[in-house]
Amino acid sequence: MAITMAQALNQALHDAFEADDKVVLFGEDVGTLGGVFRISDKLQERFGDKRCFDTPLAESGIAGTAIGMAMYGYRPIIEMQFDGFTYPAFEQIVSHVAKMRNRSRGTVTLPITIRIPFGGGIGAVEHHSESPEAYFAHTAGLKVVSPGTPSDAYSLLTESIFSDDPVIFFEPKRRYWLKEDATLPVSTEPIGTCVVRRQGSTATLAAYGPMVKTCIETAEAATAEGWDLEVIDIRSLTPFDHATIVESVKKTGRLVVVHEASTKLGFGAEVAARIQQEAFYHLEAPVLRVGGFDVPYPAAMLEEFFLPDVDRILDAVGATLEY
């Protein structure tokens, strides 16, 4: 059956609520409205307003109270309404969510899932198209995950909710309506593994979240050039499974990493740094990065020029082939 990523996420929430009554979800407009993207649709109706509830408009408040609820014994899922509104919660996430277990020497665990619809491509106004994943992938103590397909959305969200570690869960909002034939429940590869989505031999593309689909499309377009691209879905930024990419590079000798976030110190920097170290003798060209430019996310009518697309990725592949 064809399901969208939004449906898969909604189903994962319903199933988790059913499986464990300590699972709760709260945030701005997630209850009555079911979230601005309806990802929590019908949760409040089915499970009541002690399990799924609207909060006052305050992201630090949402993250901070989630900590208290988790300490008590709940398993909170919280929603940041948009990527750009995660920043008011930054202190609670970085200073407490990430550190609590370590500073308490293991006595306090915080099984919190922070859902963040992220990325551009939907023609939104300012602050609604940000890709802040690098901030969290640099922060020790967090897991950071982003699905690229509906099945993965279901499986990774389920795993995140039931993980005893806090997880920042980045939902690629432009892929909410992406369809896949799948039957739920589904269990895909665990957090902490990269998955090869397409086998190839000319060069490797690596991406996560919204750019996985773009990379697949690139690989298809590349056949016209006679290039056979391997596509790796990173899925999990922390823990990061570089070994799978190293294996791929041993075969292809070339790697292009793709994301929407600004290139400078985006996750691609970590991938490049790590792979050039682990696969030094296998690389026939430098690892290249295709990311957003190092400018603030632009106005809607200009986003197409900012975002990586098939052409820009093909150019990068071409560049690696010139070495």
Binding site: P56, A58, G84, G123, V125, H127, H128, K264, P298, A300
Partner: protein, 377 residues
């Protein structure tokens, strides 16, 4: 001197007036309310207020239509809040400043901002469409409540610089829950900053009603916690909104520090064009507020006072219609932004990495251009 916990002076002056200030009742009859006079308003002022409200509403409707026609990405309507916004902004002097949220078309109109320029932000041509220094009107601010701190800092600066300048900041009922407006109110009070915090309590933050946002008796009751007066007015009454703001502005201008205004009003439209309010409110509720329409009420007053006859109304409507048409055309004909402008304004000083990236995009654009040419030839 430290505070040993003795008795404190009666701070009751900080609590809001009860009942809230209303100058025009639902039928447009004028009441005298002590301390909140509108004696300074001339007939022309009354007509101006009306005109501003009518313009705001018409442009608002135009914007919603433009969004439906695919010309704007999204738009946040002020329908129902015309009196609060226009009345508030009208109490400011030319040199004063306004810091808006994203819903302040009415305040923008009063300040003389060209609505077509403002709409560029919603169209997505550029991130913003006007120069704040031209109208003393800050950029539309989307991250909730953050602009309250900018307003406060601006007011602190004016005070340190001994300038006769008052700052007004608009935000919503939902915004009162965020940390930033709290910090702003506190800073403003501590530095006696000439800042007026104007809260449009339109009853909702997207789908979340006021009752789930706060348990305060009223939003105006928050003021005493910062040691400033809290005012409360009928926000669908343009004269009450004006009179209360005038009092707060005078206080600020006289060096007596900031205050907080709660204008009780209602968002008659969806939160934005992307919202579906039928999921969270009833037709009955909307009807009730329809009956309290701020423009209809003021019209009754003007007619009774002989300040609005059919001629004037026709003339205003015709002007407004012309303006709406102009805006529609400007938006339809507006250029696409220049992609290379992505790199223009990020820094004052040149950044080599951006120059490289600009170069790359420029090459891409050329390639795309030449391939188009190729196809065409």
């Amino acid at each position: 001197m430290t505070d040993t916990g003795g008795s404190i002076p009666d701070p009751i002056e900080f609590l809001p007036p009860d009942p809230p200030i209303q100058i025009l009742d639902d039928d447009g009859n004028l009441a005298e309310v002590e301390g909140y006079s509108v004696d300074d308003l001339t007939d022309e002022d009354f007509q101006n207020l009306y005109r501003h409200m009518v313009v705001s509403r018409r442009i608002d409707k135009q914007a919603i239509n433009l969004q439906r026609q695919g010309q704007l990405g999204v738009y946040a309507s002020l329908l129902g809040q015309e009196a609060a916004q226009v009345g508030g902004a009208y109490a400011l002097a030319a040199q004063d400043w306004v810091f808006p949220s994203y819903r302040e078309m009415g305040a923008a109109v009063v300040r003389g901002v060209d609505p077509a320029q403002l709409l560029h932000q919603f169209r997505g041509t550029w991130l913003s469409g006007y120069d704040p220094y031209e109208f003393n009107f800050g950029l539309l601010s989307i991250p909730i409540g953050t602009q309250a701190l900018h307003a406060t800092g601006f007011a602190m600066a004016a005070k340190f610089d001994d300038r006769d300048l008052v700052v007004m900041v608009y935000f919503g009922d939902g915004a009162t829950s965020e940390g930033d407006p709290h910090e702003a109110l506190n800073f403003a009070a501590v530095y006696d900053a000439p800042c007026v915090f104007f809260v449009q309590n339109n009853q909702y933050a997207i789908s979340t009603p006021l009752s789930e946002q706060t348990r305060a008796p009223t939003i105006a009751h928050k003021a005493i916690g910062y040691g400033m007066p809290g005012y409360r007015c009928d926000g669908n009454d343009v004269l009450a909104s004006y009179a209360v703001t005038r009092r707060a502005v005078k206080r600020a201008r006289d060096g007596e520090g900031p205050s907080l205004i709660e204008a009780v009003t209602y968002r008659m439209e969806a939160h934005t064009t992307a919202d579906d309010p039928t999921r969270y409110r009833t037709p009955e509720e909307m009807d009730e507020w329809e009956r309290r329409d701020p423009i209809a009420r003021f019209e009754k007053f003007l007619r009774a006072k002989g300040l609005l006859d059919s001629d004037l109304k026709e003339q205003i409507d015709a002007d407004v219609e012309k303006m709406a048409t102009r805006i529609r055309e400007e938006i339809y004909e507006a250029p696409h932004g220049d992609p290379l402008e992505l790199f223009e304004h990020v820094y004052v000083d040149p950044i080599p990495a951006l120059a490289e990236q600009r170069e790359m995009l420029s090459r891409e654009l050329q390639a795309a251009g030449s391939s188009t040419t190729d196809e065409e030839s």
